[in-house]
C-alpha cells in the first residue's frame, strides 16, 4: 500500500485505500495500525465469504444448465437467496460427534483447515495498492500455509474413529502430497525468471507491453504457458475439485474423511475447499496472468482490482466448467498422472525456463530460433511422455451382460 502515486493512478484506483485511511482517521494515533490491519482482515473475510456463498450458487446453476435442468430457482429471484438458505440450514443442523471419536481433534480439524486456508489470502496482491501483507518471500509463505492443511485433513480422518474416514484421509493425503510436487515445481520457473519470491515483485516483473500490444505476462512465454497448465491441473487436485475429487467422491465414498462430520463443521470443510480454490486461482493470476495488470494499455483506466477480479472469476468459472465436463479419475490413475507425467514435465519446464532466461539477449533473427527451441522443449517431452504412458493401454473391455 504505497501512497506515492505511480503513473495512471486514478482516484478510483486509490478508492479502497482512501476509504480505509478515512475510517482509520477517526481513531487515535497508536490504534490506527491495528485498526488498519483489522479492516483488511474484515474486508478479505467479507469479500471472499460473499464470493464463497455466490460461488456455490453459480456452481449449482452452471452445473444444472450444463445438465439441462434449471438448478435452484425457488429461493428469491433466480435462486439468489439459496446460499443464505443453505447457511441457515447448516447452522441449525445437529452437530453429531461419534461417541468413540477423539473430541478435541474432531473439533480442531475443521478449525485448523479454515484457519490455514484463510492465511493464504494475506499475501495475494489484489490491486496496485491492495496488498494486505507485502512479504519478501510471500510465495513461500503462501505454499507453507497451504501445506499445513494436510495436517487438518489427517486430523479429520483419524479423529472420526471410523476406518472408512481414516482410509479416505490417507487417500486424500496421498493425493495432496503427490500434487504438491508439480504445483511447486511449476512455480519455480516463474521465481527463476523474475528473480524474486515476493508476489508483488512477480507482478511488477510482468508489467508493460511488447510493441504496445502483447502484455509481458508469464503465460505468453512457452514455459509460462506449460507451467500455467501444470499449475492449474495441480490446483484442481490440491483443492479436491473434479476430476480429482475422489477424496470425498460423494456418490461412492460417502464423503470420505468427512463421513462423521455434520452441520456447520461439514460446511466449514466445504468453505475451506472453496477458499483454497479461490486462493490458488488468485496465485495463478498473480504468477502467470500478470496479476492486476490490464491486458491492453488503453484499458488501464479500469482499476487494477477489477482486472484481478475478472481474471479470478474467469479461472473459477473454468474450474466449474471442468467439473461439469470431466469424469472422476481412479486413485491409481491420479497418482500415475502426478508422478509419471506432471513431475517430469515440470522438471523439463524448469530447464526450458532456464534456457529462455539465458537466451534473452540473443539478437533479432536468433529470437525465432529461441522460440522454436523453447516450443520444442515444451511440446517434445509432452508428446513423448503421453505416448509412452498410454502405450499398450486400451479402453477397458467389460465382459459381463
Amino acid at each position: 500500500m504505497i501512497p506515492g502515486a505511480p503513473t495512471g493512478d486514478t482516484l478510483l484506483e486509490r478508492a479502497p485505500v482512501l476509504l480505509r485511511d478515512w475510517l482509520v482517521g477517526f481513531l487515535p494515533g497508536p490504534a490506527r495500525w491495528a485498526a488498519g490491519s483489522l479492516l483488511m482482515i474484515v474486508a478479505i473475510l467479507a469479500v471472499f465469504g460473499t464470493l464463497f456463498a455466490f460461488l456455490t450458487l453459480a456452481e449449482r446453476k452452471i452445473l444444472a444448465r450444463v445438465q439441462n435442468r434449471p438448478g435452484p430457482n425457488r429461493t428469491g429471484w433466480f435462486g439468489l437467496l439459496q446460499p443464505f438458505a443453505d447457511g441457515v440450514k447448516m447452522l441449525t443442523k445437529e452437530d453429531i460427534v461419534p461417541r468413540a471419536a477423539d473430541p478435541v481433534l474432531h473439533f480442531l480439524a475443521p478449525v485448523a483447515l479454515i484457519a490455514f486456508s484463510l492465511l493464504t489470502f494475506a499475501v495475494i496482491p489484489y490491486g496496485r495498492h491492495l496488498v494486505p501483507v507485502d512479504l519478501d518471500s510471500s510465495i513461500l509463505y503462501f505454499f507453507a500455509a497451504g501445506t499445513a492443511t494436510e495436517l487438518a485433513v489427517f486430523m479429520a480422518g483419524w479423529a472420526s474413529h471410523n476406518k472408512f474416514a481414516l482410509l479416505a484421509a490417507m487417500r486424500a493425503l496421498a493425493q495432496l502430497i503427490s500434487y504438491e510436487l508439480p504445483l511447486l515445481l511449476s512455480v519455480v520457473p516463474v521465481v527463476l525468471a523474475t528473480g524474486t519470491l515476493s508476489a508483488t515483485g512477480v507482478v511488477a516483473a510482468q508489467s508493460g507491453w511488447k510493441w504496445d500490444l502483447v502484455p509481458r505476462w508469464v503465460v505468453f512465454t512457452p514455459w509460462g504457458a506449460a507451467g500455467f497448465v501444470i499449475f492449474m491441473i495441480s490446483a484442481l487436485a490440491e483443492s479436491n475439485r473434479s476430476p480429482f475429487d475422489l477424496p470425498e467422491a460423494e456418490s461412492e465414498l460417502i464423503a470420505g474423511h468427512l463421513t462423521e462430520y455434520s452441520g456447520f463443521k461439514y460446511a466449514l470443510f466445504f468453505m475451506a475447499e472453496y477458499f483454497g480454490m479461490c486462493a490458488l486461482s488468485g496465485m495463478a493470476v498473480t504468477l502467470f496472468l500478470g496479476g492486476w495488470h490490464a491486458p491492453l494499455p488503453l484499458l488501464e483506466f479500469i482499476p487494477s482490482y477489477v482486472w484481478f477480479a475478472v481474471k479470478l472469476l474467469a479461472l473459477l468459472l473454468g474450474f466449474i466448467w471442468i467439473r461439469a465436463t470431466l469424469p472422476r479419475l481412479r486413485i491409481d490413475q491420479l497418482t500415475r498422472l502426478a508422478w509419471k507425467f506432471l513431475v517430469p514435465l515440470a522438471l523439463v519446464n524448469l530447464a526450458t525456463a532456464a534456457f529462455w532466461s539465458l537466451s534473452a539477449p540473443w539478437p533479432g533473427p536468433l529470437q525465432l530460433l529461441r522460440w522454436a527451441v523453447a516450443l520444442g522443449l515444451v511440446a517434445g517431452p509432452f508428446l513423448l511422455l503421453s505416448r509412452g504412458l498410454t502405450a499398450g493401454l486400451r479402453p477397458r473391455v467389460y465382459r459381463y451382460a
Binding site: L105, S137, L140, A144, T147, M155
Partner: protein, 171 residues
C-alpha cells in the same frame, strides 16, 4: 516485544513437554507439529522470514506427514497406538538412548561459539540466503535431502508386507 517471545517460548516448549507426556503416539506427533510451528513463529519474531516459512513448509508440512505415515503404517490397530514398555530392559535402554542424544545435542550447542553483536541485525534478503545455500552450503543441503529420502524409504520398508500383487489392481 518480550511478552511475544515468552508466549512463543511457552507454546513451543509446552507443546513439546505435552507431546512427551502423551500416551497416544498420534497426539504426540500433532503436538510436535505445534511445537515446530512455534519454532517457525520464533523465526518470524526474530525477523528471519525465509527461515520461518521454510520451517513451516518443511517441518509442519512434510516431516510431520512422514512421522504420521510412519506411525500409522507400522501400527496394526488403534490400541497399538498407546504402547507401554515391553520390558524393563527396553525401557532402560530407551532412557539411556534419550540421554545420549540429549548429551550430544547439548554438547554441540554448548560447543558452538555464538557471536553476539550489539548492532542492529543485518537485513538478509532471500537472494543472499539462496546464494549461500547453493554455494558454500550446497553439500549440507544435499545431505539433508538424502537423509529425508532415506527416512521415508525406511518407513516404507518397515511398513510394507509381502502381499501378492492383485492382477485386478493393474492400471
Amino acid at each position: 516485544m518480550n511478552a511475544v517471545l515468552i508466549l512463543i517460548a511457552l507454546v513451543t516448549v509446552g507443546a513439546a513437554i505435552l507431546a512427551m507426556s502423551r500416551r497416544n503416539l498420534l497426539h504426540s506427533v500433532l503436538l510436535f507439529a505445534g511445537s515446530w510451528a512455534g519454532v517457525g513463529a520464533f523465526f518470524l519474531w526474530a525477523g528471519a522470514e525465509f527461515a520461518a516459512f521454510a520451517q513451516v513448509l518443511v517441518y509442519v508440512g512434510a516431516i510431520s506427514m512422514v512421522v504420521l505415515f510412519a506411525v500409522l503404517l507400522t501400527r496394526r490397530s488403534r490400541e497399538d497406538l498407546a504402547p507401554g514398555p515391553v520390558s524393563r530392559s527396553r525401557a532402560i535402554s530407551a532412557v539411556l538412548a534419550g540421554i545420549a542424544v540429549a548429551a550430544v545435542l547439548l554438547a554441540a550447542v554448548a560447543g558452538t561459539p555464538l557471536a553476539v553483536s550489539a548492532g542492529p541485525a543485518p537485513a538478509v534478503s532471500v537472494r543472499q540466503i539462496g546464494g549461500e545455500l547453493m554455494g558454500p552450503h550446497a553439500a549440507a543441503l544435499l545431505v539433508v535431502g538424502v537423509l529425508l529420502t532415506v527416512a521415508l524409504l525406511g518407513a516404507v520398508v518397515l511398513a510394507a508386507g509381502d502381499r501378492p500383487e492383485n492382477p485386478e489392481d493393474a492400471p
